[in-house]
Amino acid sequence: MSSTFESHLHALQKEVDVLVGVSPDAPLSGLPQWDSLAILLVISHFEHAYKITVTGQEIRQCKTIRELIQLIPQS
């Protein structure tokens, strides 16, 4: 895993409480609290940390944390 990936993962888990301790490849659909509130927290985090806008639909299509992080453009 790259250090960039690790730093994105760390930042995401800091802002979105329900992702704390979840493996990057675990299915998000298995998390009971992966809900509309969690999606808002992801949108807010991406907006402020990376200045990018992701839609609720884009987030819902991600099956894992790894796929969420792949929404962040590589610099």
């Binding site: 409480d17 609290q33 809900d35 509130l37 949108i43 402020h48 806008t53 609720g56 987030i59």
Partner: protein, 357 residues
């Protein structure tokens, strides 16, 4: 639309809320939702209690109560009111409009005009813009601007994603022509392509209410609703708010030739604490005074929330001196409107439930 108006002032404000109190945690537990989930939502979104209208009470009644209290506090004779603007999406009837009904209840002169604006959470600023325009250029000396809704009646009690959000309230504001050229900077906009983002599908001419439109369905999260309920795509509303509101706010501040540090208060539509804090951060206005706790006492009060935030969020400061205030309403339409001006002193009445128990 970008515009600057002057020669009017906001002279008085009052808000009346519904008189029944709903408790977010207690209601959630009663609907079988887990305590941990409720506490997480309460903390992040800022939900605690909300005030909803008691049976039979409408937005018209709430606005009438706010108006009568305000007129008494300001010692205004109804014969001096030239215009009533009533902002609502939950009128008493499809015809006639709420403004004419209130005109009759208050006994205004036949020479005064009365019309509704069909807008929600952006509506108070639209009403203020229209009131200012009528004072500055339309021959009005005094405008009564009412705004409010009973949105709590539009959500399904078993929809935990929508039902806990909304309270019921009605506001009254007095806007007057003045000889002082204090400028008001406005930015107003709409995005009709996103109209389905916040919607009540049935009950209008396109899809009249019927037994079919009350057939309930359950979504993947177990929330129940039917076609006469208020529906909202929360993620898209949030993205819309972060896209349009900070841009509108920064534009009015720039047009006023203010620096961010000049702003005494940022008064946003009180959708919820999470949205307000996100907008303030994106505008770079976290250091300004930004009222964000009204929703935990009253719920989302639609077009009455900015008056409520001005009254309770600014309190004595608004009553005693003028302040540089930036405000923005945003919501159903989709629609938004921002203003920047030096406002005050303003006569305010405390937020009060109607009917008083």
């Amino acid at each position: 639309m970008l515009t600057t108006l002057s020669h009017f002032r906001l002279a008085g404000l009052a808000v009346s809320t519904g008189s029944d109190t709903r408790d977010f945690i207690k209601d959630g537990l009663a609907h079988g939702i887990g305590l941990a989930h409720l506490e997480r939502v309460a903390k992040t979104i800022g939900l605690k209690e909300r005030k909803v209208a008691s049976p039979g009470v409408t937005a018209l009644d709430l606005c009438e109560d706010a108006t009568r209290r305000l007129l008494a506090a300001m010692d205004i004779d109804v014969s001096t009111i030239d215009v009533i603007i009533f902002v609502t999406q939950t009128p008493d009837h499809s015809q006639p409009n709420n403004a004419c009904l209130l005109h009759g209840r208050l006994g205004l002169a036949k020479s005064s005009i009365a019309f509704d604006l069909s807008l929600g959470c952006s509506g108070w600023v639209y009403g203020l813009h229209q009131a200012g325009l009528l004072c500055a250029h339309g021959g009005a000396g005094r405008v009564l601007l009412c705004s409010g809704d009973t949105l709590s009646r539009l959500t399904h009690p078993q929809d935990s994603s929508m039902d806990p959000l909304f309270g019921d309230a009605g506001s009254a504001a007095i806007v007057e022509r003045t000889g002082t050229p204090t400028p008001w900077y406005f930015v107003l906009g709409s995005d009709g392509k996103l109209s389905a983002t916040i919607k009540v599908p049935a009950g209008g001419a396109r899809l009249p209410a019927s037994t079919e439109t009350r057939v309930e369905s359950k979504d993947s999260n177990g929330n129940v609703h039917h076609a006469e309920n208020l529906m909202m795509d929360g993620a898209e509303v949030f993205n819309f708010s972060l896209r349009e509101v900070p841009a509108a706010i920064n534009t009015v501040i720039k047009n006023a030739a203010w620096q961010l540090a000049d702003v005494d208060a940022l008064v946003l539509h009180q959708a919820n604490k999470f949205i307000i804090e996100n907008i303030a951060t994106k505008c770079g206005l976290k250091a300004a005074h930004v009222p964000s706790n009204l929703v935990e006492k009253y719920g989302n009060q639609s077009s009455a929330s900015i008056p409520a935030a001005l009254i309770e969020g600014l309190g004595e400061k608004l009553a005693n001196r003028s302040q540089k205030i930036v405000g923005c309403g945003f919501g159903v339409g989709l629609s938004w409107a921002a203003f920047a001006s030096e406002i005050g002193p303003v006569i305010t009445c405390p937020i009060q439930p109607y009917p008083l128990k």
